[in-house]
């Protein structure tokens, strides 16, 4: 999980919510059935960014989470796409 303020969670000692850091909602943290809008993309690597953009995931896009297991399945319009936890964690959303 990436932290909004300090990048990878490990870099700031695990980003404890209690300490006041903001732990963002991502596609990986949503429950099946929840709808959200993509807010920003914070992928681990630039090649992951291309994959997300290629799938049509970019800020402003509305998604609905269909499944959280065995991987995250999100629906955009009539298209469903599956992404694993690592990719899904790079998509910050607002409910």
């Amino acid at each position: 999980v990436k932290c909004e303020m300090c990048g990878p969670a490990a870099a700031c000692g695990g980003c404890p919510i209690a300490s006041g850091f903001y732990l963002p909602t991502t596609l990986a943290t949503l429950q099946p059935g929840e709808r959200a809008t993509v807010e920003k993309l914070v992928p681990e690597q630039s090649s992951d960014l291309r994959k997300l953009l290629g799938l049509g995931l970019m800020p402003g896009v509305d998604v609905e989470v269909e499944r959280a297991w065995p991987a995250v399945v999100v629906r955009m319009g009539f298209q469903s796409v599956a992404l694993d936890g690592a990719l899904a964690a790079g998509v910050v959303v607002t409910r």
């Binding site: 499944r67 991987a71 599956a82």
Partner: protein
């Protein structure tokens, strides 16, 4: 000679981009290029336009190669090219690079094929293609689905806004295809200079006025184009970079900002073109998906598919009933007597042997190909096509992703690995859809060593049908080797963990026409591949037999075979195995049928021959796709594994047998 030509042709049409694009029409010919996202019906449309059949599937990533053909309606003046699906011009996988090169480096009319239900996703690519300044047609395919969902776009309105022809089609029925041909023939260079969003266009134009699209890709962080731009115009590249950093920041920020700007343009263009419908997936689809992807029900379905589809249908019916019938009735009663009688008329004994002897063209080559291989391959590909057309394979990939990650692969690799049970050679080609070199090498290795192709599988099922114990041991050993090789390779090969992403096509009831066409195409491909090899193997074995070389070569293998406690005659079977693994397995099948092998020996032989070196065809494809070094390493690994594991299994079984 024929054989050599056969192989050099295969190499040519299998090669990446450069070789593929070399298959060009005459100079006067117009060229059409089909481009679009995966799974929107490009290949089906290609089939409609050319009358040729490219592989059409309900899963992404079937057209791993570029295929070309003449337009059926006007064969002399239009050449149509199909490309692998690409999500965006910023490529991730090799197949996307192949498609992109075809678009950016090619010439002629571009036909962008889009899913009519998902135009908001497709239109940004249309806008990118527009800035190429080449004739462009937008095809809204799958119009029937869009109409059923109430989201069919107003093509005429969109055409007016874009300034290019927009045609609605249903590729599977042929609806709208004539209109598409007319539109593409008349397509002119569209008005330019508006499709690239403004501030981005200025920077891109400054970097490369001739190819602003390539400039845009370079600035968005595409290594190929960035290097090219830097090498060609270093001064401009520096200026463009500093402009980018000042405006947007790094390449990722630029790529996201550009993608969002294009999306806003697309949504503005689509305003009023699309009816205001709320997209909702059918409830039945959701319920089936819940079942197919559930932790318990999902794996239950996998087990059921394996048992009914593969064990009962392919194993029992294909490899059992059909093989028996063709061998006994077709060859035993009809073909062989005629051939023997005809061969008896030949004047020279070796010539008689060449036709109908132990290693005869008809008695060995044709019989193995038609009686033993064809029924198994046919039933396997039929089953595979059914699952494919229903849309089950992407779900299988998704379900197995977590397990695959442990052996260094992503769920995507499930598709080539399953296809490998049909034909390893074909599957090795399909590993091109995997993202990293590491994944491609691991998948190649697993295919070469532990995935038996359907011909082997059938023959192994055949020889082990008498010993259920042996069959169980064989299956467990294969699974064990698969996991061990995967774990070992993932550990030994450096590289980042793979990521998994895949679009899930809607589940559909399989269409008889699609399924049969797919099966026929794959079987034809398989036969084009193996038939010459079977015949060649017959000839080589016949010549070797005639000259005594075969006996000497076999004697060389005898110590190895004895090491495995197999009868000496098995050496010959291993020698055939070099031509095709299934060919070797078929040799063992004959020995088992004559009662020369006991349970332990049968299992040893089955294990060894399954793990043994890949057939020549697979080796050649490995060499072409992965390079000689990887191919030779895989060969060495497979041979070692085969004899070591085979020997261990035989030893353990005899030990257990002796104790009991």
């Amino acid at each position: 000679m024929r054989f050599m030509r056969f192989w050099s042709e295969r190499e040519a049409d299998g090669g990446v981009a450069t070789a593929d694009l070399a298959v060009v029409p005459a100079a006067a010919c117009a060229r059409w290029l089909l481009v679009g996202a995966p799974n929107v019906g490009k290949s089906a449309l290609f089939g409609r336009l050319t009358g040729r059949y490219a592989n059409v599937s309900n899963y992404p990533g079937t057209s791993v190669e570029i295929s070309g053909g003449a337009l059926a309606a006007a064969p002399d003046c239009v050449h149509v090219t199909d490309t692998p699906g690409m999500h965006a011009l910023l490529a991730v996988t090799d197949e996307e690079r192949v498609a992109r090169r075809a678009v950016l480096d090619g010439s002629g009319t571009i036909i962008h094929v889009a899913d009519a239900s998902h135009l908001d996703y497709a239109l940004p690519l249309t806008l990118q293609l527009l800035s190429l300044g080449r004739p462009l047609v937008l095809v809204c395919n799958l119009m029937d689905e869009a109409r059923a969902r109430g989201v069919a776009p107003d093509c005429a309105m969109l055409a007016e806004r874009l300034g290019i022809p927009v045609v609605g089609t249903v590729a599977t029925t042929g609806e709208g295809v004539d209109a598409l041909i007319a539109a593409a023939l008349a397509a002119a260079v569209p008005r330019d200079g508006w499709a690239q969003p403004r501030p981005f266009a200025d920077v891109a134009q400054a970097l490369d006025p001739a190819q602003p699209l390539a400039a845009e890709l370079a600035l968005a962080g595409d290594d190929d184009y960035a290097r090219a731009a830097q090498a060609r115009t270093p001064g401009r590249w520096c200026a463009a970079l500093s402009a980018r950093v000042a405006h947007w920041g790094d390449e990722s920020a630029f790529a996201v900002a550009l993608a969002m700007a294009r999306r806003r343009m697309a949504l503005a263009l689509l305003d009023g073109v699309l009816p205001a419908a709320v997209p909702q997936r059918a409830r039945a689809q959701r319920a089936i998906d819940r079942w197919l992807l559930g932790p318990v029900t999902g794996f239950l379905t996998v087990a059921l598919v394996l048992y009914v589809g593969f064990y009962l249908f392919v194993g029992r019916f294909g490899a059992g009933t059909l093989v028996d019938w063709i061998e006994r009735v077709v060859f035993g009663e009809w073909v062989n007597p005629v051939v023997q009688r005809a061969a008896a008329l030949l004047p020279w004994a070796p010539l008689r042997d060449l036709v109908a002897g132990q290693y005869g063209l008809l008695t060995l080559g044709v019989r193995y190909a038609v009686a033993i291989v064809l029924p198994i391959v046919g039933t396997f590909f039929l089953m595979f096509a059914l699952l494919e057309d229903a849309g089950y394979l992407p779900r299988l990939a998704l379900l197995l992703d977590r397990g695959m990650k442990r052996i260094g692969l992503s769920g995507r690799a499930v598709i080539p690995l399953v296809l490998g049970f049909g034909c390893n050679t074909m599957a090795t080609l399909v590993t091109r859809t995997l993202e990293t070199k590491r994944e491609r090498v691991i998948a190649t290795l697993l295919l070469a060593i532990s995935i038996p192709c359907s011909a082997q599988l059938g023959v192994v099922l055949g020889i082990l049908s008498r010993t259920p114990m042996g069959l169980a041991v064989w299956a467990l050993v294969m699974l064990g080797v698969f996991v061990a090789v995967g774990l070992g390779a993932a550990r030994l090969m450096p590289g980042a963990a793979p990521t998994f992403y895949l679009e899930l096509p809607p589940l559909r009831v399989p269409q008889a026409r699609n399924v049969l066409l797919k099966t026929a195409t794959r079987v034809r491909w398989y036969f084009a591949e193996i038939f010459p090899l079977f015949l060649l193997a017959s000839v080589i074995l016949w010549a070797g037999d005639l000259t005594g070389v075969l006996a000497r070569a076999t004697r060389l293998l005898v110590p190895l075979v004895r090491l495995l406690h197999l009868p000496d005659a098995a050496a010959a079977a291993f020698l055939y195995g070099f031509f095709r693994r299934d060919f070797g397995a078929a040799g063992l099948y004959d020995m088992a049928a004559r009662g020369m092998l006991d349970a332990a020996a049968l299992t040893t032989a089955a294990v060894t021959i399954t793990l043994f070196i890949p057939c020549i065809a697979q080796f050649l494809v490995m060499k072409k796709e992965r390079g000689l070094k990887v191919a030779l390493s895989v060969l060495a690994a497979a041979t070692t594994t085969a004899f070591v594991v085979g020997g261990l299994v035989g030893w353990a079984m005899r030990l257990a047998g002796g104790a009991a």
